[in-house]
């Protein structure tokens, strides 16, 4: 089930990416290439270059904003009794991995947690498996083993008190913390 869902998701991401690329190239064709070819004035060319530069700058800023948002996302949530992180978190985690790869001195601590249902020691194991899965994904995507430390708190450090589904959902998590 999990694998199938994962594959479906991968295909969806791929499809979206292709559509996105196609959209990008078509806009640049119509907006920039055509007018530049027809007008010969130097001021027009300079204007086009400036616009292009501004567009690139905006894209760069947007990319940076998205990356910062991803890096600011430091808590990843899990389904009940499941150790695999949610597919929607892949892109965010890839940004984390690339950031770690680009900053070899940066170290993080991955803290795994479980909700309170089930036995304490089993939940300690579950929390570790969650943290390890995120650690392994970060390594595959560029982080190095030495930058990552994992610890499980099981159900001992809930984020939220209470016996509601909502509290449980917030407690099943891995937190990315700066490490010394």
């Amino acid at each position: 089930m999990g694998m199938q869902f994962n594959n479906v998701f991968k295909s969806a991401v791929l499809a979206l990416t292709i559509i996105g690329l196609a959209a990008c190239s078509s806009t640049s064709d119509t907006e920039e290439m055509a007018p530049v070819a027809q007008t010969a004035g130097e001021s027009d060319a300079a204007r086009a270059a400036r616009l292009e530069q501004e567009r690139l700058e905006r894209e760069r800023q947007e990319q940076q904003r998205r990356e910062q948002a991803a890096l600011n996302t430091t808590v990843f949530y899990f389904d009940f009794d499941v150790a695999e992180f949610q597919p929607a978190d892949r892109e965010t985690l890839i940004v984390h991995a690339r950031n770690l790869a680009a900053n070899p001195n940066r170290r993080v601590r991955l803290e795994g947690h479980a909700d309170e249902r089930g036995t304490r020691e089993y939940n300690l194991a579950l929390g570790e498996r969650r943290a390890n899965n995120i650690r392994d994904f970060l390594i595959v995507n560029g982080a190095s083993r030495g930058q990552l430390e994992t610890v499980s708190y099981g159900e001992e450090r809930p984020a939220v008190n209470g016996q509601t589904e909502n509290a449980y959902r917030q407690n099943r998590r891995v937190e990315v913390q700066p490490a010394g």
């Binding site: 249902r117 089930g118 020691e121 194991a125 570790e128 499980s152 708190y153 001992e156 008190n161 016996q163």
Partner: protein, 435 residues
Amino acid sequence: MKKSSLMMFVLVLVFSLRLSAAELNIEITRGVDNPIPVAVVPFAWDGANLLDEDIAQIISSNLEQVGEFRALSRANMLSLPSEEREVHYRDWRILAQQYLVVGKISQVPGGQMVQVQWEFFDINRERKVLGEVLTGSMTQLRDIAHEISDVVYQEITGRRGAFSTKIMYVSAEGPIGSTVFKLHYADYDGRRAQILLESREPIMSPAWSPDGGQIAYVSFETDLPRIYIQDLSTGQRRQVTNFPGINSSPVWSPDGSKLAMVLSKDGSPDIYVLDLGTNELRQLTDHPRAETEPAWTLDSRSVIFTSDRTGQPQIYKVDATGGLPERLTFDCFYCAKAQFLPDGVNLVHVRRETRQDNSYGIAILNVQTSRVIKLTETALDESPSVAPNGSMIMFGTTAGGKGVLDAVSIDGRVKFRLPSVQGDVREPSWSPYLN
């Protein structure tokens, strides 16, 4: 600002006043149908000042707490004998009592010592069953009361009493982000609680050495879960493990020579046994899924544990020298944290029947007949710990949004709760016999 901090101070003060007065109290939520009637007459006292403890009241409470007895109210007593020559059987037969306990306390001249002379009568047979004299200090009155309770319990039921035993448990107090964790040591009924350890980081899995002299537990005080052993008489403690990953679930073998534990140093949690004499570490399980919650068989030759190697947690048994594990549970969605009763046949465990029922209860599996008895039907029961006489199981559960300790008799008929006024309590661990 000022007002709110003042209010906070008052709240804390009221809270701690209540705490010192109440500690933990036992309430019987469901008793047996036909309890044995016992009269415990207030013990006579020849001293001038009032005694700190009411021995007769403690004995009555003890007997009522296990549910098999009903203690006669003092207001209904027709006479208050304190020794054999004052006992008139007719007074007690009229009140339909089966057993009678009387006693008197006298000061030993020139000190803080007292002498407690007590006697125990069978009303139907009109005879004294036994009598003895105990000596102790003023601060040992509760111990003396528990000792008398143990003897009375054994005389009536034929089984050894566990009233002189202790428990440990963990509490978590304070809001998220500034929680304080404490390891407590108390009488079996939660009274005379003392703090063994206090930390800003979690404390887990308290366990007793078989002689009751040492304890082991998991502390996150270094920011990582590590196993410690602490001597109860000296307070000295030492860190036993420092492996990467999980170091948890320490459990002494019944012969005291080994400590079973969980280590995930090789990638996933597995069961290991540390020989406390030679310091040799032996790996019992080697599986990429989680193996945890070890407990010993009574002969110290096998270890039972929880594993989710088939997808969901189930209970397995493996030879203490290693080898292929044998699966013990099959018909539950979630079976975990098992421990054998003193009979070596019945396995106490945490059980969730199906994925749909979503409730974790305490159950007993007879490994010979495969019969399962569910003892509790609350939703979040965990950490069962068995009294050394096998009569009761104490466990952690949740009530009113916080952790509480409950106990249930082996037949599931008697239940009592140790309500806590100080935050969440969890992970009770019942001591072995200490005398």
